[in-house]
């Protein structure tokens, strides 16, 4: 138990220490978000640029939402698909750099970061595609369980009527059980992906199919690690939701408040990305603990020093 706590602590410390890595990920997030919202900018300025009746109104008001609706209806809607495609490419690319940082440590150099990203991008992409198959398999477990619960007459959020969301409480005991199983399946898959990436980096292997399978077997052989990884994810979710709640609590109604809300919102994103780095670090520690590879730096990677 102490080992698990130490692994989580170490992961969190790395998540905090690697602020430059998080900064790079946040930069990519900004780029994608900016591409998404830029098409809406002319419409928003047109609707709100000289609108005294909108001044001081909160976001959730008929004035602001009505104006936003009008802006979108006029064809100035945010773009979603293309920026998300870019996101997929960007994040697949940056993954190599993140793995390098959590495995190798040492001073952060942007050139080296991108160098490692470029070196591993093809293998990371192939690994992800192999593991997508596993994701489908992993999702079958909670779906099958949900179906079985439904057949047994047990009410879960999968089978509750829609009105339970508004009139009842969808978080009953069986829903929580199903959520836990779902969380475990997701954690299992996600940890397999992280472990696979660490293996690719540390062993510099080319066969991604075999690596994916090996990572999955390693994760299955260490269910306690999956649990701890799941708890790390739960911790991340709670922390993110708390800060998001704080962001939502910033009252609307002025330029300064809008900027403050945006700034607090960056805290939400920062936290999310820092936990992403922490998760990768957790996988690296797991690989090292299982003594799959000697704790040396990658043979073909640049020196971390």
């Amino acid at each position: 138990m102490r080992g698990a706590a130490a692994a989580v602590r170490d992961a969190l410390q790395v998540g905090i220490r690697e602020w430059r890595t998080v900064g790079v990920l946040l930069g990519a997030n900004w780029l994608v978000a900016a591409l998404m919202v830029t098409p809406a900018l002319p419409g928003v300025l047109g609707e709100f640029g000289h609108s005294p009746l909108a001044v001081g109104k909160p976001l959730v008001s008929t004035e602001i939402l009505g104006g936003l609706g009008a802006a979108i209806e006029s064809g100035r809607a945010p773009s979603v698909i293309s920026p998300l495609v870019l996101l997929v490419l960007l994040q697949t690319f940056l993954t190599g750099g993140v793995v390098w940082r959590v495995c190798a440590g040492g001073p952060f150099r942007l050139g080296a970061f991108f160098g490692q990203s470029g070196r591993l991008v093809g293998r990371n992409a192939r690994l992800f595609l192999w593991l997508l198959l596993l994701l489908v398999a992993a999702m079958l477990v909670p779906v099958a369980l949900g179906a079985a619960m439904h057949a047994l007459g047990l009410r879960t959020f999968l089978t509750e009527t829609q009105e339970v969301l508004m009139f009842g409480n969808p978080f009953g005991g069986w829903s929580l059980v199903l959520l836990a199983v779902l969380g475990f399946a997701v954690a299992c898959w996600r940890l397999s992906l992280e472990v696979g990436r660490v293996l690719l980096f540390r062993q510099d292997v080319r066969n991604t199919r075999r690596t994916a399978w090996r990572a999955f077997r390693l994760v299955l052989g260490s269910p306690r690690s999956v649990l701890v990884y799941g708890l790390l994810g739960l911790l991340a979710s709670l922390a993110i939701l708390l800060v998001a709640r704080g962001r939502a609590s910033v009252p609307d109604g002025g330029a300064r408040r809008a900027l403050l809300a945006l700034a607090v919102g960056q805290g939400v994103l920062w936290l999310r990305l820092a936990f992403q780095v922490a998760g990768t670090r957790f996988a690296a520690t797991l690989v090292q603990r299982l003594e799959i590879v000697p704790s040396t730096d990658a043979p073909s990677g640049p020196s971390p020093a």
Partner: protein, 687 residues
């Protein structure tokens, strides 16, 4: 002793109620307030295990016309749920009306009703004359309307009594009727005679039967009468119904017969519900009649009861003072069990309404519960007392009641907070994301438009789809009323509504009757405006399209100017450091076709204001001003200054400032950017 009771009660509570119009048994005191054209004595036995309902109804029908009537029209509403070929099923499927659909019905879910006999007092059974009718869509497979032909016509202003016997299978809960677990709601459940409209009622020129098929998006229309019901159900079931409970008899076979009575209502609905919790209360207020209240709520949503009772009292108080004192002595509120709110909640019947139940309502006032209760209890006036034709002029019920609901919520200071709609476990964590404070009136703005596709007054099933029907007869109709209110002023409008309620209570008003009252109260002919709002498709969207100012140098701008000798000489643009003139242009547009007066107010930088009209018929007008700089700059242009017609759409465009307003744009762009970031992060979490 009896006359002393109100005095003792007043002394004890400090409240002096108004005299009652009905006694404790639901019988009218003094002359009957309605014509009681169709009265029923109902007896029904419900067997929940078999989902069987058997009943008899002694119908006493009065021919209000000057012509003898040999053929009587009836509704058999439950045959709408008989098969997929009923008009109801067709429409529900084609027009996407989810809560009324039978498309998910399994083999045992369908319901039906069948008339077994229809005997005259002399024993003649006229059941063999039954003929299915389909006046609305010629769907020969629809069996929701039938006629019976009598051997001898009912003479003009004469009366006939028919003993009807029928049997029905209760459908799976749909369209506010049927079974859901241990809960059964009985609406439109007995063979119900149609309305014989007689001149000048709603503009008919000859006596005409108004008896429409059951449509997926329409409600009902019926005559006033006396209802006396004996309902036999298993002992374990709790029963609530229209009217006042007048008796309860335990039977030897393990059943109980519940008796209810109410004079001068247009319908009778009831519920039989095993496991319901019954909570009683009384509405008492100075100068208003007392109303006994009963709430039936699910065991696991007991906390709903105090809120719906409080909301009902607030509505009875507001409606009693603003419109007409609620005359009936008892009101039943049913909060359906979880899983049945969508299909049976939010429905009105005389003195009996179905609202919503929440397992863990927001305290102290849950806006979802308060809004639905205010709306359904409000129907007690606009459908229960002023019994309009909901098939053909649904706005007179739903539109007026939507307006009325906003009035009640405003009176009690309740606004929509979307955070309250979250499930209990998520309210604390996610509540701030949805926190809001929007009035009921403002919530309806999204349904306004510069031009509409249908008039408000239209048969409900003839709208393009259910969404258009709902948007029109509820929200747009309410906005139309607010527009009349804007035109005549709130105090005069309040007088219109009160006069309309007083004059047409216990009768069947139509659109023209409402407009006639409005014209009479205001002393001006409001029919052209009313017809444009209700029978036309014109919308209202008055906007300030542009506002710009340029600074003119004291000597004028650059160009050729006549010199002293008369020869044009070029003069360059002068650099203006101080002084000069401000030349401003304001473009005002009428983007809708509704011919309402339109004023524009220009506010100058020095604080002076000028209000100008846009002449009727002009779709746009450009206002130009030239005054000394800087005080003469137009800094703000507004249309409809001070108050805004209810139907006006696009509120933001009602005013435009010269200076930029960065705060709203920043708020919106900041939120969009943050949302995009979250979306990217969420997608990124699986990569």
């Amino acid at each position: 002793m009896a006359p002393l009771l109100p005095l003792l009660l007043a002394a004890a509570t400090g409240v002096t109620p108004a005299p009652a119009r009905f006694d404790a048994n639901g019988r009218s005191i003094g002359p009957a307030p309605s014509d009681r054209a169709a009265s029923y004595v109902l007896e029904a036995r419900y067997e929940p295990a078999a989902r069987r309902l058997t009943g008899t109804a002694r119908l006493t029908w009065t021919n209000r016309s000057d012509l003898p009537q040999r053929t009587l029209w009836f509704h058999a509403y439950w045959n709408a749920f008989k098969n997929a070929d009923s008009t109801f099923s067709h429409e529900a499927l084609l027009r996407g009306i989810s809560r009324t659909g039978t498309s998910t019905y399994g083999r045992d879910d369908w319901g039906w009703t069948e008339l077994r006999s229809a005997r005259l007092p002399d024993g003649t059974d006229v059941r063999p004359t039954l003929r299915w009718e389909n006046p609305d869509d010629h769907n020969a497979l629809d069996q929701t309307v039938f006629t019976l032909t009598l051997p001898v016509p009912v003479p003009a202003h004469g009366t006939v009594t028919l003993e009807l016997a029928w049997e029905a299978r209760v459908p799976k809960l749909v369209a506010r009727t049927g079974v859901h677990g241990r809960y059964t709601l009985f609406g439109q459940w007995f063979p119900k005679v149609g309305v014989l409209e007689v001149p000048p009622q709603r503009g008919v020129r000859t006596p005409t039967w108004n008896c429409h098929q059951f449509h997926a998006s329409s409600e009902f229309y019926a005559d006033f009468g006396t209802y006396d019901a004996a309902l036999t159900v298993p002992r374990t079931m709790v029963v609530g119904a229209t009217g006042v409970r007048t008796g309860r008899t335990e039977n030897a076979d393990g059943t109980v017969t519940h008796r209810f009575h109410q004079d001068d209502v247009i319908d009778f609905a009831w519920t039989a519900w095993e496991g319901a919790v019954e909570v009683s209360d009384v509405f008492r207020a100075d100068g208003l009649p007392e109303v006994a209240l009963t709430a039936l709520v699910p065991e696991d949503a007991r906390a709903t009861a105090p809120q719906i009772l409080a909301a009902a009292k607030a509505t009875l108080e507001h409606g009693g003072r603003a419109w007409l004192p609620y005359p009936y002595p008892h009101l039943t509120l049913v909060a359906p069990p979880l899983g049945a709110n969508g299909t049976s909640g939010g429905m009105e019947y005389p003195t009996f309404v179905a609202v919503f139940a929440r397992a863990e309502p927001v305290t102290p006032r849950d806006v979802l519960l308060w809004e639905v209760t205010a709306h359904e209890v409000g129907h007690g006036w606009w459908q229960g007392l002023l019994a309009s034709n909901e098939f053909e002029e649904a706005w007179l019920d739903e539109g007026v009641d939507t307006w009325a609901t906003a009035e009640v919520l405003e009176a009690v200071g309740l606004r929509w907070d979307f955070a309250q709609l979250l499930p209990p476990g998520a309210r604390w964590l996610l509540g701030p994301l949805f926190r809001s404070s929007i009035s009921e009136r403002d919530l309806r703005t999204r349904r306004r438009s510069a031009r509409f596709l249908s008039p408000v007054v239209r048969r409900v099933w003839e709208f393009r789809n259910s969404a258009e029907a709902g948007a029109t007869v509820y929200d747009r109709a309410a906005a139309a009323l607010e527009t009349i209110e804007w035109e005549v002023g709130p105090e005069v409008f309040a007088r219109i509504m009160r006069t309309y309620a007083e004059r047409w209570a216990f009768r069947h008003p139509g659109t023209d009757d409402f407009l006639e009252v409005a014209s009479e109260v205001t002393g001006r002919d409001l029919r052209p405006l009313g017809n444009a709002l209700l029978r036309g498709t014109a919308g209202l969207d008055d906007v300030v399209g542009e506002l710009s100012c340029t600074r003119i140098a004291p000597g004028g701008g650059p160009g050729l100017y006549d010199a002293d000798g008369g020869t044009p000489v070029f003069r360059p643009a002068a650099r203006v450091r101080e002084g000069g003139r401000a030349r401003c242009e304001v473009l005002v547009e009428r983007r809708g076709d509704l011919p309402l007066p339109l004023d524009v107010r220009l506010t100058f930088q020095d604080g002076t204001q000028v209000t100008e009209p846009v002449p009727p018929g002009e779709l746009w007008r450009r206002f130009m001003t030239e005054r000394d700089f800087p005080g003469g700059q137009v800094v703000l242009a507004e249309v409809h200054p001070g108050s805004r017609p209810g139907l006006d759409t696009n509120r933001l465009k009602d005013a435009r400032s010269l200076e930029t307003t960065p705060a709203p744009a920043l708020t919106v762009m900041g939120w969009l950017f943050y949302s995009a970031q979250l979306l990217a992060a969420a997608v990124g979490s699986i990569l």
